[in-house]
Amino acid sequence: MASNLGSPSSNSSDHRPHQVGKATGYKAGNPVTVGKEWLIDTGAQISCITKSNGDQFDLTLTGGSASGTTGGGGILVKSGLTMWFEIFDKAGAPKSVSCNLDVGVKPNNSGSEILGVDQLQHVGAAIEWDPSAQNGRLYEV
C-alpha cells in the first residue's frame, strides 16, 4: 500500500500519523507559505495550530474558549489560514488538497500542529493508519 503518512521526522518512536504539508495565508498584505508537519488527529473536531505558527499570518479572530481542550487549555478561533496536505485520489494518485476552515490557535507552542477531522471531512478524505508499521494513507472517499 502506498503511504503518505508516517511518524514525525523529529521523533520516530511517536506512533501517531503525521504528514508534511504547508500553511498559506497573508502577512501585511503579502502572501506567506510555511512548511508544516501535521499531526492527523481524528479526535479533533477543529484543526489547531501553535501560537508561533499563527503569528506568522494575519488572521481574523472569530471567537474563542478558555476551555475545551485536553489539559484545560484555551483556543482562539481565527480565519485566514489555508492548510495544505496530500491525499490519494480514487485512482491512487497523490493529490494536493487545501482547506480554509477556521482554525484554533493555541496560547503557546506546546504540542503539535493538528489537522483534525473537520479538514478531512471538508475535502472528502479518510484515513488508514497502522501504528505498528507506522505507515498509512489519507485517501479520497
Binding site: 473536531q45 479572530l61 482562539l76
Partner: protein
C-alpha cells in the same frame, strides 16, 4: 485556563495588534454571559457545544456548525463557546 489567564492572553493579542480592543471586549463580554449561566448550561447541555454571540445562546453538536450559525446571524461579532463534558481536541 483561568479567567485571568484568558483575559491576559487577549490583552497580549491586542498589544501585538493581532486583535482589536473591541474584539477583546466583545469576547470577554460573551464569556461573562456564559459564566452567569454556567450551572444551567452544564446541567442542560451535556455533550453539546454552547456559545454566546451578541448575548444570544447558540447550541450545536459540532464546532463549525456553531461558528457558521453564529457568524451568519451576527457578522463580525465574537463567539465565546465551550464544549460541555468533552474536549474539542
Amino acid at each position: 485556563m483561568t479567567d485571568a489567564e484568558f483575559a491576559l492572553w487577549l490583552n497580549d493579542e491586542v498589544e501585538a495588534n493581532r486583535i482589536t480592543e473591541g474584539q477583546r471586549d466583545d469576547l470577554l463580554g460573551q464569556k461573562a454571559t456564559f459564566e452567569n449561566q454556567r450551572s444551567v448550561i452544564e446541567q442542560d447541555h451535556r455533550n453539546q457545544i454552547v456559545g454566546f454571540v451578541a448575548g444570544q445562546m447558540q447550541v450545536a453538536r459540532e464546532i463549525h456548525a456553531l461558528l457558521d450559525s453564529s457568524k451568519s446571524q451576527f457578522p463580525g461579532r465574537m463567539i465565546y463557546f465551550e464544549p460541555i463534558g468533552f474536549h474539542l481536541l
